[in-house]
Symmetry: C2
Subunit: 447 residues, 2 copies
């Protein structure tokens, strides 16, 4: 035994206060201490406002001008301050702090200025500049609110699915084969073998339905697509779920609708502050219209006088018009488009027994943009092998995947949601990079 | 407007029952329906037990032998059954179902047998076989319980950190540089540029401390290590957190200890069933001893009469002995080893101002194995640039990272926990692959 062994027992009480302790008036008139980053210094003549940035928001500190010079305060410093809490309705959260003391905890490099004006409500810089300076530009209150809302979406997604008895899984991102087919896959050298980055957890989530009946994952996926558009990313977060014992693919749409209802209510409750900063209105998802693919094409063709060029494909412009149609006719920001053509869906999609040219599948459009692809999967071995062979695929290449069909799978299906796109649509942003913390595209690999 | 537009409104009520509805006796004597997979068929002479596997556990169904033949039941089928609930203490969860009806929902391929005996308590197959047949072997009740406990660890980790006002972040896995240095990094072709798979979210989580003060991430990391040991993986889940405004690196150990206390209490409460299946005893983490690196080496050298070969390195054997020492002397399964030599820590580690040969850092050992590495980071620009230069690194290569030091960072630090190792130690498994859903190692890339 060592004398005076040091033991760690947990988080110690701190006498530092947080905004949540102060807002509401409980500490008015008292002297308190808190820490924060010097966000903005605002010279008001005799006095100076030093706005501190904390995780929860901003704190207005009031300082005599002479003190400011004494303290040699600069934006980008982090400090510990003491002061008297003073109710002040014009200050953030209804209070200000009349400073009585200040300690500098850290300083930026000498002779540097913030490369973007993070203290403004909206950064008036180009997207490219904002992204190149991401580590700093995210310190802007509006920018960081975006990713709090995104956190809330993921939390809500998980919490809802736990409550529906889904199990969270962790599937590999380095894989031997590619689920979605096609050339849009990143290749990797793996100890002398060829490997890929997973385009989707598709095979693995199906495997895990055989284990837990209902599963989900929230993880990165990788697409080597050369598109450089406002809605494509080469790495994004996919919110996936997959469920067994379904009676039809409608069960999946039911589950997604209930999930969205939960997530949006959760955001209103837990992320009201960020929704207010971003001026977001949460859409109504009490009911979401569902329309067949061919019917949707017909509807917008008629209403907007637009020729159907390819009956088996949906162009982005048509998606926009479908979104518009359902907004105008049903006041819905969302619409399920069902029964996509078999040609356009992967080999594991279940064909509609009533018409094999179509599948038991759907996309969910949000304000005219696809944010979800889902559907029922083939669960019997013979049917899956047959469809592979019809497509010129060799079932021997999919031995690990077909193991589940061979040894029995319940009828099942699921979906994948692009988190950044969902966030983009919810916040009415024009580019998916706005709602991606550190986007990866054809030209951007940093920061 | 379309007549009879179909609207999706949420999850519909189902008359199917789950084990949670039945266990406890509320439905005794009633006829109910449920779905499940035929896990085991047990011929008892006149009657047959058909054990169904559901997400929550097993259901014992009782069938006349003649009926079994009529139904042509086989293991691997999924079914919907009706039956009368009968209290039966010898059956799983205290009830059985006397079948009155059965519908087959899906069938395995004809003439196939389960490749592993998933109906047994413990699969008596080699690890290699188990891993090669993962999609099926995970259907074993004990195997799948492992990953429910793992789910619980991650849920508890997140819930605790949310309660401590951490923000969840999503950082890129395709990166331009490598945080930890060294050659153990997977290379990738990225649209004609050289890219890497992230070995850790280190740079990004530090960047995000400048934004949210406290952040965490639970995501895959990739290490191209050629070690093929019982404790190394080439892809694993890292539970990372990083926190600003720390007073010392002890704050990080305090937070980790409180997190472990929360997680273990959460597991006892929410995952008691799985802990019982796996016969796990949750360790006491009310206090965790902390000992300096050099002191730990001296203690085990003295007690176990072992020469110190290299004062600046800790061999796996020494870790085992340190674990043993603190178990024997303090009855603790955990021990923090602090003040690792600077040589052994990355360039961003903060040196101890009292002795620059050591860092303000720690590892956490659990039953003699490192499961966490953490510490305080350098937060000032000049100090970080100086340490890079001393190591022969070019600060110009780290412009994006150094942006945060240049424009101001609070004193901060954090840690990374290997999820699979933590699970392995908790469940007393001998190989980290046992606690990895689909492990990736030097030779294994499938399934």
């Amino acid at each position: 035994m060592v004398e005076d062994m040091d033991f760690v027992t947990g988080v110690k009480e701190s006498d530092l206060k947080e905004i949540r302790d102060i807002a509401g008036g409980a500490l008015d008139g008292q002297e308190i201490s808190l820490t924060g980053a010097v966000h903005v210094i605002r010279d008001m003549g005799e006095i100076t406002f030093v706005i501190l940035r904390k995780s929860e928001g901003l704190v207005q500190c009031v300082l005599e001008k002479s003190d400011l010079e004494a303290f040699r305060l600069r934006e980008g410093m982090t400090v510990k301050v003491s002061g008297i809490v003073n109710a002040e309705m014009r200050a953030p959260r209804g209070f200000e702090l009349r400073l009585t003391g200040l300690t500098i905890l850290s300083e930026p490099a000498p002779d540097t200025a913030m490369p973007v004006p993070i203290g403004k409500y909206k950064l008036n810089t180009s997207l490219e500049t904002k992204l190149s300076l991401r580590p700093i530009s995210l310190r802007n209150i509006r920018e960081r609110a975006i990713f709090k809302v995104q956190e809330g979406i993921v939390r809500g997604f998980r919490d809802f699915l736990y409550s529906e008895h889904f199990t969270e899984i962790r599937t590999p991102k380095i894989v031997a084969g590619n689920a979605e087919g096609g050339a849009n896959v990143f290749k990797l050298e793996y100890f002398g073998k060829r490997a890929f980055l997973a385009q989707s957890p598709q095979f693995y989530k199906q495997m895990m339905v055989g284990v837990y009946d209902r599963v989900f994952e929230t993880a990165p996926v990788f697409r080597a697509e050369k598109h450089n558009t406002t809605r494509h990313l080469n790495e994004y977060t996919s919110l996936d779920f997959e469920m067994g014992y379904i009676e039809s693919f409608h069960d999946i749409m039911d589950m997604e609708t209930a999930m969205l209802q939960y997530v949006f209510a959760f955001l209103k409750k837990e992320y009201a502050k960020e929704l207010a900063i971003l001026k977001v209105t949460i859409p109504d998802v009490s009911r979401i219209p569902a329309v067949r693919f061919d019917e949707a094409k017909r509807l917008v063709s008629e209403k907007y006088d637009r020729k159907i060029r390819n009956p088996y494909d949906l162009e982005p412009e048509e998606e926009v018009l479908i979104g518009r149609y359902f907004k105008e006719e049903y006041d819905s920001d969302f619409v399920f488009v069902t029964h996509y053509p078999s040609k356009k869906r992967p080999f594991y999609a279940m064909d509609d027994p009533e018409d094999k040219k179509f599948t038991l599948s759907f996309d969910l459009l949000f304000k005219g943009m696809e944010i979800t692809t889902g559907g029922q999967r083939i669960h019997t071995y013979a049917e899956q092998v047959k469809k592979m062979e019809e497509r010129g695929m060799d079932p021997a290449d999919f031995e690990n995947y077909l193991m589940i069909h061979k040894h029995g799978m319940p009828p099942h299906g699921g979906l994948g949601i692009g988190l950044e796109r969902l966030t983009m649509r919810l916040l009415d942003e024009a580019n998916v990079r706005e709602t991606t913390m550190f986007p990866r595209d054809v030209t951007r690999l940093e920061p």
